[in-house]
């Protein structure tokens, strides 16, 4: 049963990850298709986390990745007026795309041969604990929280500084500067006075 579920979830995760990168249909090249495939992939990876009895991280994966980050991506896709942008048009791959594909293939092959080599796991196999004594007390919120607030207290506090910095940075970078940025006519929002070309009288509706 465990093997069946593992192969089911891992195949689905790898296939949906492939759908993010290589569109299954030539019309599905828009980034929103990649985003939907990505959400699917995050759900299957969360299922794999649950099989590794990392319950808290499986929930966080769905909440943070599929919930927050991908919704942010979708917002940005909707904010941008991407219809005229014909980036990634279906064309035969050029030399550099071939080279990129070859490099990615080499990376994957190298990682898999390393991971499946016998001597890779030999130094730590003495400590491998395949069956845990008490699976109820593994990977739950209470024990991870205890670790976070004792052994990893400093990195945990620094994470809050990082998030604050990222928030301020995102606001400053995304702020619209009317002198340098281009605003499409269709998106431009006119004030009442600009639209009607007259002053708003006192007491006017």
């Amino acid at each position: 049963m465990e093997a069946f579920l593992f192969y089911l979830f891992s195949t689905a995760a790898v296939l949906s990850a492939l759908a993010v990168v290589l569109p299954p249909h030539p019309k599905a090249r828009a980034p929103i298709h990649s985003a939907v495939a990505m959400v699917l992939c995050f759900f299957f990876v969360a299922a794999l986390y649950a099989m590794l009895s990392a319950h808290l991280l499986a929930v966080l994966q769905v909440l943070v990745y599929a919930g927050a980050i991908m919704v942010l991506f979708t917002f940005v896709i909707m904010l941008l007026n991407l219809q005229q942008d014909n980036v990634d048009k279906p064309e035969p791959p050029g030399f550099f795309k071939m080279l990129g594909g070859l490099m990615a293939l080499t990376t994957t092959w190298g990682l898999i041969t390393k991971f499946t080599a016998d001597e890779f796991l030999a130094p730590i196999s003495a400590q491998l604990v395949e069956k845990l004594a008490d699976p109820l007390h593994y990977g739950n919120l209470q024990d991870i929280g205890r670790l976070l607030f004792s052994k990893y207290l400093l990195p945990f506090e620094l994470t809050s500084v990082l998030l604050l910095t990222a928030m301020i940075g995102a606001v400053i970078v995304a702020k619209r500067d009317p002198k340098t940025t281009w605003i499409p006519e269709a998106v431009k929002q006119l004030t009442y006075r600009e639209r009607h070309g007259k002053r708003v009288e006192k007491g006017a509706p």
């Binding site: 990392a54 990745y65 994957t108 395949e130 990222a166 340098t180």
Partner: protein, 100 residues
């Protein structure tokens, strides 16, 4: 019996697919999603190692990776927004100047 190696191979495959996307796709948004995919693959190997060694430190590291990924997504998407406003395109090949 599903062991550590199985999970590591899935993690390597996901990482490789993410690398492929970063190198092959030209749309800045898709390149960004592929970076998230690579972070996820690394997270999975952290969790697999900590599960099969019996500790929970890998979970804490994966938690930090998630926090960094969230921060990176916010800043990166702001940069992409700005890139589109100044160039009207998301093609990473066209963004070859370090100024407006």
């Amino acid at each position: 019996m599903i062991g550590l190696t199985h999970y590591l191979v899935v993690s390597a495959l996901l990482f490789g697919i993410g690398t492929l996307g970063v190198l092959v796709r030209r749309n800045a948004l898709v390149v960004f999603m592929c970076i998230e995919l690579m972070l996820n693959a690394v997270n999975m190997s952290f969790i697999a190692f900590s599960r099969f060694r019996g500790g929970m430190d890998g979970h804490v590291v994966a938690f930090f990776v998630m926090a960094v990924a969230a921060a990176e997504a916010a800043v990166g998407l702001a940069l992409i927004l700005h890139l589109f406003r100044t160039r009207q395109s998301l093609n990473v090949d066209e963004a070859n100047l370090m100024r407006h």
